[in-house]
């Protein structure tokens, strides 16, 4: 056992006080996003998808990585947002920003209502409940063909230019910048939540729920708040993808989407804020490359890779980096 650190030491106090400050490396994802815009002008449509999906993964990280809620139904909120924005745009209201707000509100409302019911349960039962909620919404969208287009998907979306000026172009330039800005706002929101006292109490709930009860933390209330915020962010992410692709299909609510976003987040690293950025980018670029070469075997390899990550690389890419850094800094 190492000696307990002196909690009154100035160095430690300083570390606590500056914990939430922006660090230089936190600019890296944004520099990369700006560089990608100029270096890969032919891939901006894919880039926009990646940026929007990062927001989805970030929303999942808030509930999974910080509040410790294992969910297999996060696509419920993504899909709710996508359909909200899609239905608005297909019925004569194509203004994108208000579409995002409406999508976030709708998904947040669904998150609040279902969360209020299902967050009473824990563990496997909770996992089942999240799965069932998503399945219910998917079945609803499948059967309400008059509104959603059912299995054919929602057709005829007409998204207006952003601020009435910036038209969504064929190359995805507008979409890319649009998604980048929304992601920036979403990331700032999640970051400040995570470092706030509220965020710390979420981590406490994840690490030791009994102790949090014991110190009088309103556990269920906190979880529900996190769940609602996360649902709203997931909804905004879904709306971004719906608006930029001008299409919403049943896949937006499917189990496969809930599963793959989980996989992307795990590949990057859970509960570390930047795992979403790394995991989604790696996954989606690999998917884009490999599925053009061999679409059939893409599933096989990603499955194998997943098993590898679970068995040998817990903590994902960020976990590996941390371990490598520790090894280098400790000369043995």
């Amino acid at each position: 056992m190492a000696a307990a650190p002196d909690i009154a030491s100035p160095a430690l106090l300083d570390a606590f006080a500056s914990r939430h400050r922006l660090r230089a490396y936190e600019a890296l994802p944004w520099l990369a996003a700006i560089a990608a815009y100029f270096v890969f002008p032919d891939y901006l449509a894919l880039g926009a998808q990646i940026l929007a999906t990062i927001l989805f993964a970030l929303s999942l990280d808030l509930v999974l990585g910080y509040a410790g809620i294992v969910t297999l139904g996060h696509a419920a909120f993504f899909g709710t947002g996508a359909y909200t924005a899609g239905i608005l745009a297909a019925n004569g209201w194509g203004e994108p920003i208000s579409g995002l707000v409406a999508a976030g509100a709708a998904a947040g409302a669904v998150g609040f209502l279902t969360g209020a019911i299902i967050l009473r349960t824990t563990g496997l039962t909770l996992l089942m409940q999240t799965l069932v909620v998503a399945a219910m919404l998917s079945e609803l969208a499948n059967k309400a063909t008059a509104i959603t287009g059912g299995a054919d998907g929602l057709q005829g979306m007409d998204v207006w230019p952003i601020f009435g000026v910036f038209r969504f172009d064929l190359f995805g330039r507008t979409a890319y910048i649009y998604c980048a800005f929304v992601l920036l706002i979403g990331w700032l929101a999640v970051r400040s939540i995570v470092y706030s006292p509220f965020g710390r109490s979420l981590t406490g709930i994840r690490e030791n729920v009994l102790r949090m009860h014991a110190v009088g933390s309103p556990v269920r209330h906190r979880k529900l708040t996190a769940y609602t915020i996360s649902a709203a962010l997931a909804g905004i992410s879904g709306a971004l993808i719906a608006q930029t692709a001008q299409f919403v299909g049943l896949g937006a609510l499917g189990l496969e989407r809930s599963g793959t976003i989980l996989i992307m987040l795990i590949i990057g690293g859970v509960g570390q804020l930047y795992g979403a950025f790394i995991g989604v980018t790696l996954y989606m670029i690999a998917q884009d490359r490999f599925s053009t070469i061999d679409p059939v075997f893409w599933y096989f390899w990603i499955g194998l890779f997943m098993i590898f990550v679970v068995m040998f690389a817990r903590g994902g890419v960020l976990g590996l980096l941390t371990r490598a850094r520790r090894k280098l800094s400790r000369p043995s």
């Binding site: 297999l72 996992l127 069932v132 219910m136 989980l262 096989f300 499955g303 890779f305 679970v310």
Partner: protein
């Protein structure tokens, strides 16, 4: 009003047949979850493998129906023993999330492999002549194959229950479900027990997958597409129980059939709502103990 009774009989019949398939596939999952505490999302992949093995043995190698079934079970049991030793065993007692991810990875692998070897189309099933057509029961006719399915299911359920209640192995399984540490302390070889029950559950799933291809078509997306159904049966029934999933399978099978008949516009919505309600009322399932 006059045609209400025939409709009810027909719903009960087809619902029962579906319930048998669901039970055969899910009972192994229930035991795995109760005994090892393992969230095996890939359980449906064993059922799918059974389906592919049986149809291939029949179609390509022209084996008779019964031999193909036996072959399919054997193949899946052997494969599951290998997987248990290589992958599952390492994650017993691990984090729920790790188990979810590992088995999700397995599902994706099976999707890719099945598409590669068999293509995206559903595999055709050809029951033997003896089991095709209709049989006369009283004044009504029933499809022979589904009647066979129900009989098969009943026989297996009885065998399973007797085995669990009356044999030494069954007693060991019950002991380990109730109190794993105590079971280990009195000298039960739980690691062997885990492997055997895992293999047994996979074998039953393979049989269910092969027999139930009429209800759940053998396609590459099988394990993912039907996952919700299998999990519902286990969660509603109560994991670790053998009887619970049977009741749950009956419930799911008949309600699903009834709603497809009475209110097709609702689809599977009602099943999901029912599952949610039951899990709120009894989080550990109808027959599970928390």
């Amino acid at each position: 009003m006059a045609d209400l009774l025939p409709a009810a009989i027909s719903i009960a019949f087809h619902g029962l047949a579906l319930a048998m398939v669901l039970y055969l596939i899910s009972v192994g999952l229930s035991v795995t979850m109760g005994l090892m505490g393992f969230v095996n999302l890939a359980h449906g992949a064993f059922a799918m493998a059974g389906g592919y093995a049986a149809t291939t043995l029949m179609g390509r190698y022209h084996l008779p129906f019964a031999a193909a079934l036996a072959g399919a079970i054997l193949i899946v049991v052997l494969a599951s023993l290998v997987l248990e030793r290589l992958l599952y065993r390492r994650l017993y007692g691990a984090d729920e999330l790790d188990q979810v991810l590992m088995t999700m990875g397995l599902i994706f692998m099976t999707v890719g492999a099945a598409t590669y070897f068999w293509g995206p189309v559903a595999q055709p099933v050809h029951p033997p002549d003896l089991l095709s057509g209709q049989i006369q029961l009283g004044s009504r006719e029933f499809p022979a194959y589904r009647s066979f399915l129900i009989l098969c299911g009943v026989a297996l359920v009885t065998g399973l229950w007797l085995g669990l209640e009356r044999t030494r192995f069954g007693a060991q399984v019950r002991a380990a479900v109730d109190n794993l540490r105590m079971a280990q302390s009195i000298g039960i070889n739980t690691s062997q027990l885990f492997a055997l029950t895992f293999a047994l559950g996979s074998g039953l799933a393979a049989l269910g997958g092969a027999l139930g291809a009429e209800f759940l078509p053998i396609v590459p997306g099988y394990a993912l597409g039907n996952l919700v159904y299998f999990l519902i049966v286990v969660a509603v029934g109560g994991r670790g129980s053998i009887r619970g999933p049977f009741v749950a399978a009956l419930l799911v099978g008949t309600t699903d059939t009834a709603f497809k008949y009475i209110a097709p516009e609702l689809g599977a919505f009602f099943i999901y709502a029912l599952t949610m309600a039951i899990l709120l009322w009894r989080p550990a399932g109808l027959f599970g103990h928390a």
